[in-house]
């Protein structure tokens, strides 16, 4: 059993993809949750369905749809290509895959926190002179803090385990786009990779348990406050 440099890179890449995806998803997730809780517009139900779709679709389907969208021939891919940006089969594609697949979890968690805010606090804020944006930043954001933290850790954990969508849009290029789950898959399907596969599994378990612990701590503290 040996640990190749690409295995270390797989670990690093997993953490990097997870972190970047989480940071990128946070503002989007906050806005999406805000729209679902406080927005008043037609088609809200449709939007809600759309946000939740990745939760019920097989990740492979999500990955394939993303491939169609941002692939070299896809509408978005062509647009980005003109700007000299290629996403497909780079680590950015892995971020995109994680982002889309984990998005419903993040939105759900932030949304629950927002729905728990006493509407009278919002009315008080408005009547005291805060406009909608001001109120969002000074009341809604701080009072959704725990939901944001809990949602982020859940999202990060989900992105560490992302496989189906990632393998389609990012591929499994060792040292470039191969994240931990993809590396494990590779080792598991090669005749003498059993030991390394198990070791990487252990790393994966340790990482996930750490994140889950953080998540639970945040939730527990939320209950106490």
């Amino acid at each position: 059993m040996t640990i190749a440099p690409t295995d270390i890179q797989a670990m690093q890449l997993s953490v990097k993809v997870g972190a970047v995806a989480t940071l990128a998803a946070l503002p989007l997730g906050f806005y999406a949750a805000w729209l679902l809780v406080f927005g008043r517009f037609r088609g809200k139900l449709l939007l809600e369905l759309l946000f939740n779709l990745p939760l019920i679709l097989p990740p492979v389907v999500v990955g394939y749809l993303l491939l169609l969208l941002v692939g070299v021939e896809g509408p978005l891919g062509r647009l980005l290509g003109m700007a000299g940006i290629r996403i497909i089969f780079t680590w950015k594609a892995a971020v995109l895959a994680s982002l889309v697949v984990g998005f419903p979890l993040l939105v759900r968690s932030i949304r629950l926190a927002m729905e728990g805010i006493d509407p009278q606090l919002l009315q008080a804020g408005r009547s005291l002179g805060a406009g909608p944006l001001d109120l969002t930043l000074t009341v809604i954001l701080p009072l959704s803090r725990r939901g944001i933290l809990a949602g982020s850790s859940l999202f990060f954990a989900r992105s560490l385990g992302e496989f189906g969508a990632t393998i389609i849009v990012a591929g499994s290029i060792p040292g470039v786009t191969q994240t931990l789950p993809l590396a494990i898959y590779d080792y598991a399907s090669s005749p003498d990779g059993e030991g390394t596969a198990l070791l990487l599994c252990l790393v994966s378990v340790v990482l996930s348990v750490a994140v889950l612990l953080l998540h639970e701590t945040v939730l527990q503290r939320g209950k106490a406050a």
Partner: protein, 350 residues
Amino acid sequence: MELELQLRKRQGAFSLTVDLTVSGERLGLFGPSGSGKSSLAGLLAGLSRPDDGRIILDGRTLFDAEKRIDLPPERRRIALVFQQHALFPHLNVRQNLLYGHRRCPAAQRRIELEEVADVLGLTPLLAQQPAKLSGGERQRVALGRAVLASPRLLIMDEPLSALDDDLRHRIIPYLRLVSERFTIPFLFISHSLLEMRLMTERVAVLEKGELRAVVSPEELARQRMGQQPAGYINLLQVGPPRQTQGLLAFPWAGGELLLSDATLPEAGTVELSSKEIILCRRHPEAISARNLLPCTVRHLFDAGRKTGVELDCNGATLIAEIVPDAAHELAITPGSTIWAAIKASAFRRL
């Protein structure tokens, strides 16, 4: 303050229709729960939108369906104090107090933190978190926060209902003090007649979403006497008492009132229900009631199933209630003299 309202609003099966022009600095909105009081407050503050009509406050149009004017709540400068204090849990007392103050246009900002904190007794609490405060303290912070926004109108929506009786009477002086000291006109919403009398000078009566009357709180209390479980509450201003045989003797109307309630042995207000007054045609020779006051009947008024009797007690006014039969039997008519007997335990200090 002058308030002109013409509003229509439907919410499911409930509909609110109000057509009202009032002026005054201490207005009341009275009605049972479910009568639409809070809905009306929400419409005034811009938290919900009327279906039709207009709202004009001191000549400034806040809402006009025809002219398509609808100022958002943050630009109406109408501050609210709710039944539940609604303090921001993530901010300390000082930050809560300053929330509206910071957002008030500098030109209209005329009330400062130190002064309000001083008047409301909040100075030692400024660094505290709201969760650490008692109910009365929270409500004082909520009041201070609303006042510090230098609002053109302060709406107090049942601000005392969540407090117990004792606390309620300790908050009322703060409410009055603040509005007088900082000259902020207010709309006081409540289902309590007593609070209306203590707080307001004009009262709009709302029932089932419709405006029934605009009266003085005194008139309202007399009209509603028969329906109130506690009757009409006489509010008597008494002087500093002296101790006498286990009772307190408070100077009142040229004579003295004997009270067994010794909670506050100082000058102030004493509460007496109209139900606690027994009227006697002649001087009862032997009676256990410690107070026997000679009175003249000023006039009688109808109060539902009861008859209200306005008494002149050496220049001061007392309201008693009796059943119509008794009025007839005792031949109580305006101008007749009568004895009012009151037990020493019937009074309550406010």
